[in-house]
């Protein structure tokens, strides 16, 4: 258990800290660039075209794939693998780990995904169409590309990691879920370094666009940069994005021993399940998930400085989350709320991790980034403390709470403390 006030009373070998951040987002290919563009209100959403669906919008990443992969590697592997490889290598570099001499059998990989295999399967079927669906033309690469452990496995191959590797399927709660899994494995002493977070290659599957469109949940706007607009009255759905964000997690004693820079401590987390609907969120369960994370951290709601919301820009989803947040944070005068998806779209499996990293820098710069594109705030989403359109100085925030929810009613919350 953790004492009230959030200061961990656990022994240092049970306290989990973030000591490195590697990412690619539609508006930045490292943590500093991402933060700078977030604070500048620079959207990463642009026009995009994909087979069958045609012209639409997406958050597209432009990271240097060849920084850590050969052309052959990229030909053989998946986009999710490439996103993961880039993010993991960047995270290890950012953490200052002595990678050449580290015991890589004690490194674990925990990568959250919303889905995996759709891109590769769609590509193969498209190709097979040209051969009259004769399956003798089906690629032998299909299985290694689509096995559920693919993204984490590709990272392990690339970096020579021989510890455990897991890809964690958790819909759009996956970024937090990866982080939580990594922390748990460190506490169980299953590894000494956990590379944890989430990745998304989802803009390369037409199915995700078409399905959101059929559901009436795909965003559209004449100006791509204004399409992702959580909490605004004119919001009309989700902008799908790709991206990745992986954290280096260590036990506090290990991080201190090697003199690592610590970007925050995971002091609380929770996951629970709606068990009520395939797609519709449940604000009661969301509020319970927030409350459970606060309880595990030994914190009161009013101690949270910044809440990074999950809101995706759907009419119902945003309102439901705000209802949950009112329940959890009602009367908390100093707590601020923001939304990173307004800037980058919904990065699916990477969303939770990217949104956390987008806010984590506030421990250093003392600013709560804004939710952009709120021209007319929906009264149902009018939370006290919602930071819209302009960043807000916060002094020195101590606690950030990061929400991430997904289909089939999967909810995840993490709380990070500045130490």
């Amino acid at each position: 258990m953790i004492a009230s006030g959030g200061t961990s009373q656990l022994p240092e070998n049970q306290r989990i800290v973030i000591s490195g951040i590697g990412l690619t987002a539609p508006n930045g290919n490292d943590w500093a660039e991402f933060r700078s563009n977030i604070l500048a209100g620079k959207s990463g959403v642009s026009e995009y075209e994909i087979r069958y669906v045609g012209k639409t919008l997406a958050g597209i990443c432009d990271f240097d794939v060849k920084r850590y992969q050969s052309r052959k590697d990229t030909r053989r592997g998946t986009r999710a693998g490439s996103v993961g490889i880039y993010s993991a290598n960047e995270a290890v570099k950012h953490a200052g780990l002595d990678w050449e001499n580290i015991d890589r059998s004690r490194v674990g990989m925990y990568i959250g995904v919303t889905e995996h295999g759709n891109v590769e399967t769609e590509n193969e079927i498209f190709e097979l169409q040209g051969f009259d669906y004769d399956t003798s033309f089906w690629s032998h690469h299909h299985n290694p590309r689509t096995v559920a452990n693919n993204p984490a496995g590709e990272v392990a191959l690339n970096m020579g990691i021989t510890g455990p590797h897991y890809t964690i399927g958790a819909a759009c709660a996956a970024g937090n879920a990866g982080l939580i899994q990594g922390a748990q494995m460190l506490r169980l002493n299953e590894c000494d370094v956990a590379i944890a977070g989430g990745v998304s290659e989802s803009i390369h599957t037409f199915g995700i666009f078409a399905s959101f469109k059929s559901q009436g949940a795909l965003a559209s706007h004449d100006d791509p940069t204004k399409a992702s607009r959580p909490f605004d009255t004119q919001r009309n759905g989700i902008v799908v994005a790709e991206g990745g964000c992986l954290f280096v997690l260590e036990r506090l004693d290990d991080a201190k021993r090697r003199g690592a820079t610590i970007y925050g401590e995971l002091v609380g987390y929770a996951m629970n399940t709606d068990a009520t609907d395939f797609v519709l969120p449940n604000s009661d369960r969301q509020a319970e998930c927030v409350a459970l994370a606060l309880k595990k951290a030994g914190l009161k709601a009013e101690q949270i400085d910044i809440v990074s919301t999950h809101a995706t820009g759907t009419s119902l989803g945003d309102a439901q989350e705000c209802a949950a947040l009112r329940r959890a944070f009602g009367g908390c005068e100093k707590t601020l709320f923001n939304n990173t998806k307004s800037l980058i779209g919904h990065a699916m499996g990477a969303a939770g991790a990217l949104e956390l990293s987008g806010n984590l820098a506030s421990f250093q710069d003392g600013v709560c980034h804004a939710t952009i594109n709120v021209d007319e705030l929906d009264p149902e989403c009018a939370l006290e403390g919602l930071v819209i359109n302009e960043p807000r100085e916060t002094g020195r925030p101590r606690f950030i709470l990061n929400n991430s929810f997904g289909m089939l009613g999967i909810n995840s919350v993490v709380i990070i403390e500045r130490i």
Partner: protein
Amino acid sequence: MTSSEIREEILDILENIAPDEDLSDLTDDVAFVDQLELDSMDFLDIVMELRKRHRVQIPEEDYTELASMASTVAYLTPLMKDMQKA
């Protein structure tokens, strides 16, 4: 296709499969694996590309014939002699 054209076709396939390799000094009678970083999945790519491009079906027991450029061309020449270069 002539033996020379088949060789060009195999080179073109190898350029796709092993894009990081320099194929300009490939020695025809030395095994591919002794001069290129190719693994079993890459050899299956060669088989698949020949199937896709020319509908050439190579049975599994003949895969060893694809060990080097010389053996590959020798094996394919009778199979592809009546085909036109695309």
